[in-house]
Amino acid sequence: MTLKSFFEGARDGRLTAVRCTACGGLAIPPKEFCPACGKRGWQAAPLSGSGTIASYTVIRVAPRKFAPEAPYALAQVRLAEGVSILGRIVDVPLDRLAIGLAVKFHPLVRGDQTGIAFGPA
């Protein structure tokens, strides 16, 4: 699993973690060394893309590149498989955001760039 293949999969709607071939630990985003056992052997592990918001914030003052999009939400999402990832929240009204809200992976595609985002479950 490389960054390139991770994002190519994401672009097609597939969120993929890596599973350590030594200890079975799951990690996302992809890593070189297993955070649990330190070994260096991974298999791609497709995820369901389902999760819940563990924490979130609405960004109102954004860096220049993102300023036209403000306000926008960003969340820490705890995925059904037990790992967490950060992503933008899309297609959810800002006043409906809540910790515990169910969300689903939704790639944010802009030209040749792909971002991690989550939308309504």
Binding site: P29, A54, T57, I59, R60, A62, P63, Q76
Partner: protein, 387 residues
């Protein structure tokens, strides 16, 4: 290991400065030398400079040598620059401490300096983005405020912490800063002002955030023998700890309301010092955002986990309370010139423990803590004590 003390300290004016990077070095260096008349620049055998991004903000690297020449210091044992994002200054003090404790140096200046403000304000925000992971965080539009906002939301959900609690941290630190002539902000702030200020990243409003600030600070660190020859009031380094949970947010503890690395760093420092949280009279903690100060109360053991909001509300972190937190005004009131912050924290504790903090003096302060972090998962704690 040898005993090590701070024997001098000085801070530049913090703010949006019409000063060059070198001007800031001169200003803090002079203030530091003025504080300890027995030390001339050529008496120092080492210099460590904490600075994060002069390559971007001043188009300058090779920083330690530049500062040494600017201040007339000729390092013979130690010359280095430390870059550890917002904790660069305290990381520099640890280097000086270790060299002196080991007998490899005797008298070392640690100087922190940052020139963050740029002609285009947006450039400063962009530069700050170098402190988070480029590919996994900055790429989503993540800067520092949202990281800490994620912690704030968790803390509110788990412990009932309120926006008012965050506001009270802002009021306290802005009020303290009003008594510090070197602070970026000196007008104080009311709770209405703080809670009415612009939302940056919910629930954090402008007056709950530290600003983009230029500034420098310096301390002189000495072996016991040199310290005793130079001053009758050395401020001893009694304990230090550093711990990391990770760099990317996703590498940290799953629950951002908990900062286990800060707890570990604090425990290591207390253990080394043979002291407990209740022994601390004054603490300079890293209030880059109000939530950070509330979590620091908890992880440093000033109150139980989850009670940080009530702790500030009851006035227990202010004058007359359990421990005076951020008497100089913190990062919120003084500003946060990255590399300078940790050194300025040490300078404040140095003044407090010598009884020289003037209008900000914490009565009879004997033990002081500084806490400097670089992100939510990387923390450095120092414990200082007077004789």
């Amino acid at each position: 290991m040898r005993k090590v003390a701070l024997v001098g300290a000085g801070v530049s004016k913090f703010g949006v400065r019409k000063a060059t990077y070198r001007d800031l070095i001169w200003e803090a260096g002079k203030a530091c030398f003025d504080s300890v008349p027995g030390v001339r620049p050529k008496d120092l055998d080492g210099l460590v400079v904490g600075s994060v991004m002069p390559e971007r903000t001043a188009f300058q690297s090779h920083i330690s040598s530049l500062a040494a020449e600017a201040l007339g210091i000729r390092p013979s044992t130690l010359s280095a620059r430390t870059e550890h994002m917002c904790a660069s200054g305290t990381v520099g003090i640890r280097y000086a401490y270790a060299f002196i404790a080991a007998g490899l140096a005797d008298l070392v200046m640690v100087l922190g300096v940052e020139k963050l403000n740029q002609p285009q304000g947006e450039e400063a925000i962009l530069n700050m983005g170098t402190g988070v992971d480029r590919e996994w965080e900055a790429a989503f539009g993540l800067t520092a405020p949202p990281c800490f906002a994620l912690a704030a939301q968790r803390h509110m959900a788990e412990y009932g912490t309120t926006e008012q609690h965050f506001g009270l941290v802002g009021v306290k630190n802005h009020t303290h800063a009003s008594k510090n002539p070197n602070a970026h902000f000196q007008k104080g702030a009311t709770l209405d002002q703080v809670l009415g200020s612009r939302m940056i990243a919910s629930p954090l409003r402008l007056f709950m955030c530290s600003p983009i600030t230029d500034g420098a600070a310096a301390v002189i660190v000495a072996s016991e023998e040199r310290a005793r020859a130079l001053t009758d009031r050395p401020v001893w380094i009694r304990g230090t700890g550093q711990a990391l949970d990770g760099f990317q947010l996703t590498s940290l503890h799953e629950d951002y309301a908990h900062w286990p690395a800060l707890k570990r760093a604090g425990e290591a420092a207390y253990r080394m010092a043979g002291l407990e949280p209740k022994d601390v009279d004054v603490a300079e903690v890293h209030d880059c955002f109000a939530i950070a100060e509330i979590i620091a109360y908890e992880e440093l053991g000033f109150c139980k986990k989850g009670e940080g909001g009530a702790f500030v509300e009851a006035g227990r972190s202010d004058y007359g309370g359990d421990v005076v937190v951020n008497p100089r005004g913190g990062l919120m009131g003084c500003g946060h010139p990255l590399g300078a912050t940790g050194v300025a924290q040490a300078a404040e504790v140095w003044a407090q423990l010598r009884g020289e903090a003037g209008a900000r003096q914490v009565p009879d302060a004997a033990v002081g803590v500084t806490h400097n972090n670089s992100g939510m998962g990387e923390h450095v704690v120092m414990i200082y004590g007077r004789e």
